[in-house]
């Protein structure tokens, strides 16, 4: 279907793509695997005509294929779903689908019928009358996919589609991929999760530093070798839990050895870091997002909060960060009530927050690393209201060294850092204090590559070791199982169960996440 030969693209001194050749067969799911910055997104953008390569040729279905704009690619039969969606929130699904329509009369009825046909054919459940703004991330992604499928593409490019999805939706997305290929369409799936590759890929190409390191049929591939190819070092060195989070079982685990990360070794115990007392939250539309949540987290333990996204985790995170007021209930940190207090007071009480949305809440991308690091403690970095830039820079350099942040320097804008390094800066700011009582880590590894994930887990465990209570909100069950001490499951705003963080409990937790509460015997 698609033949790529010798594609190169340079951005200044950086070779984003370096002599990449690969072929995608008809009806094949071809996975692109690689760390952040390996060139996956650039390659997708070349295929979709967003970026023109400096060298190399492409052939689509035997024809020379040389798109200079996305419109060319669409006409040639290439559809793409981007990491960041391109649907308009204030329009309905139907209106979004008709956006590119050129005629004077909008084909409402025909389009609605086509949406229905495609939803049924691929089992995608998309309602054409709903406002996109009211939809969850997973639903929006389905809209994007339907939008691509309406054009009956020959090749579908999905750029990290699963990074934003909860587990259940990942499965259905992968099922859609399989259905699409059954109809002869080829799929290029970008991911850095091996579990997904193991499930659907026909072939895998690993990118590292802009080069195609290896291509293998899944049947013949050794997943450990793929990870080594991806990171350029041995996966064992990254720690077993990181491998587990990416769906790799290492030899040590297979042999039944204990997981190094799972054994809690709290120093301070029997002290409550965080107490949530019957906290409820009703949103502006009157929907009950949190329903009498009661959680007690002791110092020196990591409590995982599992759940399919959209079951109240975001609201709980916002309340703990001081960005939302609970409708009822009380919140205590270290025995002091902080219900409804502003973020400055909550921070002063010893709370660190790694927010779910790094770009919207965690950091300010246009400010420098030093400014981001010092923003929450400006009093300590100023005299008579004037910033002490040198102290700020020194502090930033310190933290960058101890948290292994790769950046041009303390004055580099946050925007110039990769996602993993941005997250390390946020962690550095929130964790680097002696009086940390409680840490909220909401989806802390979303979108990060293997190395960064390992660093984040290490930091969270270090916090536990010094007696901090941690609430880890994640939609990745593997992550929770490998980092948390015990796991609570949230479903429709209520805590519906608690399990020990034991791999054996995986099935039970999965069932709870889908709202299935076992009947008491």
């Amino acid at each position: 279907m698609l033949e790529i030969a010798g594609i190169s693209k340079r951005f200044g001194a950086l070779a984003a793509l370096d002599d990449i050749s690969l072929s995608v067969a008809d009806g094949e799911i071809h996975c692109l695997l690689g760390e952040n910055g390996a060139g996956k997104s650039t390659l997708c953008n070349v295929i979709f005509g967003v970026i023109r390569p400096d060298a190399g040729t492409m052939q689509l279905a035997g024809q020379a294929f040389n798109p200079s704009r996305p419109a060319d690619s669409l006409r040639a039969g290439v559809g793409m779903v981007h990491q960041h969606f391109s649907v308009i929130e204030t329009l309905t699904v139907l209106e979004n689908m008709m956006l590119g329509h050129a005629g004077t009369r909008l084909p409402r009825v025909a389009t609605a019928r086509r949406i229905r046909e495609i939803s049924e054919e691929y089992d995608l459940s998309v309602e054409s009358d709903r406002l996109v703004g009211t939809m969850s991330v997973g639903e929006r992604q389905r809209v994007e996919i339907v939008k691509c499928l309406m054009l009956a593409p020959k090749l579908l490019v999905l750029d990290e589609p699963t990074a934003v999805l909860p587990p259940a939706e990942v499965d259905s997305l992968l099922a859609v991929c399989r259905k699409v290929t059954q109809r002869g369409c080829a799929v290029i799936l970008v991911t850095h999760k091996l579990a997904e590759i193991r499930e659907v890929a026909d072939r895998v190409t690993v990118l590292r530093g802009g080069r195609a390191v290896t291509t293998a049929r899944l049947a013949e591939a050794d997943l450990g070798a793929l990870v080594r190819a991806m990171v350029g070092r041995d996966v064992a060195a990254l720690g077993t839990t990181t491998g587990a989070a990416h769906g790799v079982e290492t030899a040590a685990e297979a042999a039944g050895m204990t997981r190094t990360g799972a054994a809690p070794t709290p120093i301070v115990a029997a002290e409550d870091a965080l107490t949530l007392d019957a906290v409820s939250y009703v949103d502006e539309a009157g929907r009950r997002r949190l329903d009498e949540i009661t959680i007690v987290i002791r110092r020196g333990e990591i409590v995982g909060l599992a759940g399919v996204e959209g079951n109240g985790q975001s609201e709980l995170g916002a309340i703990l960060a001081g960005l939302a007021l609970p409708s009822a209930g009380r919140v205590f940190v270290d025995g002091k009530e902080i219900t409804g207090r502003p973020p400055a007071v909550i921070t002063a009480a010893g709370v660190g927050v790694v927010p779910e949305d790094r770009h919207a809440v965690g950091c300010i991308e246009a400010l420098s690393v030093a400014e981001n690091v010092c923003l929450s403690a400006l009093g300590a970095f100023s005299r008579f209201g004037m910033l002490r830039r040198r102290q700020m820079a020194a502090r930033a350099v310190d933290l960058m060294r101890s948290f292994d942040v790769r950046a041009a320097g303390p004055d580099a804008p946050m925007r110039s850092l990769s996602g993993g390094n941005q997250q390390k800066v946020v962690l550095a700011r929130e964790l680097s204090r002696d009086d940390l009582v409680f840490l909220l880590a909401a989806q802390p590894t979303r979108g990060l590559d293997v190395g960064a994930v390992a660093a984040v887990y290490d930091r969270i465990r270090t916090a536990r070791a010094i007696g901090t209570g941690v609430l880890l909100i994640s939609s990745e069950l593997d992550e929770l199982l490998s980092v948390a001490d015990r796991i609570l499951v949230i479903y429709r705003g209520r805590i519906i169960g608690e399990r020990k963080a034991d791999p054996a409990a995986r099935e039970a937790i999965g069932a709870l996440m889908s709202g299935h509460v076992p009947v008491a015997p």
Partner: protein
């Protein structure tokens, strides 16, 4: 990273040419403006001479041009200060107006009895405080009720202009005692002792010590924006209010404070207009400087130096325009069109410059 590396080299080359583009654009606009003047039937030579006279033909013209620039610079400084917090203060006109009212009232009732050093200071402080209240109200409306500050500051301007009208129409307020039917609706002149000292009293130049005040204010704003915690807080709130709030910054307080400070700067300018050059309160004494100050702030694009440059440019343009209108008889509309053309070409070339850099 990659974008940065890719863009540095061509950007340098373009930057060297960058200052030429607005200059060329302005020259083009002037040429069009002269054609326009010719089309009104007035001799172009006389119009140009009148324009030059208005700008620098005499010590008076030169000083008056700078006085205009002072007013514009204060409003522009307030505009970029609020702009740092992501706010658009289009209420300069009203903030000037309330500043002028407060200054007149204080100068006529109280400040006249103060010693020489304090007498002009009281109206200035009062004007700044009145402007601060006018700006602050818009800030409070924004954080409490979600009112867009563009709307609220603009509408508050119209309220303030009507307040000036009321003040000078009513003898209970600031109108001077009516001795005959021909008594104009304006206030008494402020006492001599409250008037700002002139810099060159012997030359007939109306340039007053407001020049130093605006330079001090510009230095203060520059220091606040680049070196103070307040400057960083303003930027943080402007760039991402939610992240700023999470970092413990009182984002609502910053919004109110930014509009209050912007109002104070414009209010101070209104007071300076009264005790510095006009000496009494008249209807429409602000004559659009509050709106021209927005143009100054926009053209400066956040830079204090830019405010000073464009305030001077617009101040001189305005002086020249008024002179063209009065002595050469060029219609006011034609003068305004010329000014508009020059502003648009400068702004347009700046945007073009950005695009050229962006696509490199």
């Amino acid at each position: 990273m990659s974008d940065i590396v890719a863009q540095t080299a061509p950007r340098r080359r373009r930057l060297r040419l960058a200052p030429l583009i607005p200059a060329a654009a302005a020259a083009g606009a002037v040429a069009v403006a002269l054609l326009l003047v010719a089309a009104t039937g007035r001799p172009v030579g006389i119009a140009i001479a009148a324009f030059w006279d208005g700008i620098a033909g005499s010590a008076f013209a030169f000083g008056a041009s700078f006085d205009r620039a002072i007013t514009l610079a204060f409003v522009g400084l307030g505009f970029i200060l609020a702009g740092r917090a992501g706010l658009t203060n289009v209420g300069g006109e009203g903030q000037l107006a309330v500043g002028g009212i407060a200054a007149t009232a204080l100068a006529l009732h109280g400040a006249g009895d103060l010693p020489r050093m304090l007498a002009p200071a009281l109206p200035l402080v009062g004007g700044a405080m009145a402007g601060a209240v006018w700006g602050g109200v818009a800030g409070i409306l924004k954080v409490r009720r979600g009112t867009n500050e563009v709307i609220s500051t603009l509408l508050l301007s119209f309220v303030a202009l009507q307040l000036v009208y009321w003040c000078v129409q009513s003898t209970q307020l600031l109108r001077k005692p009516q001795t005959s039917d021909s008594t104009l609706p304006e206030s008494l002149d402020v006492p001599d002792i409250t008037q700002l000292p002139l810099l060159f009293p012997d030359t007939g130049s109306p340039l007053h010590i407001g020049l130093f005040l605006v330079l001090i204010a510009a230095a203060a704003v520059a220091v606040v924006l680049t070196h103070s915690t307040l400057g960083l807080r303003l930027r943080a709130v402007g760039l991402n209010a939610l992240a700023a709030r999470r970092a413990g910054i009182n984002d609502r307080g910053i919004v109110v404070l930014a509009l209050t400070l912007a109002g104070a700067l414009a209010g101070l300018a209104g007071a300076i207009m009264i005790v510095g050059e006009q000496y009494n309160l008249k209807t429409d004494f602000t004559s659009g400087y509050g709106f021209d100050g927005i143009v100054v702030g926009l053209l400066a694009r956040g830079s204090v130096g830019g405010v000073l440059v464009f305030a001077t440019l617009l101040g001189f343009l305005r002086s020249g325009g008024i002179s063209m209108e009065i002595t050469a008889g060029v219609p006011a509309a034609a003068v305004l069109i010329c000014q508009g053309l020059i502003v648009i070409t400068i702004a347009g070339s700046a945007i073009l410059g950005d695009r050229a850099r962006g696509s490199a």
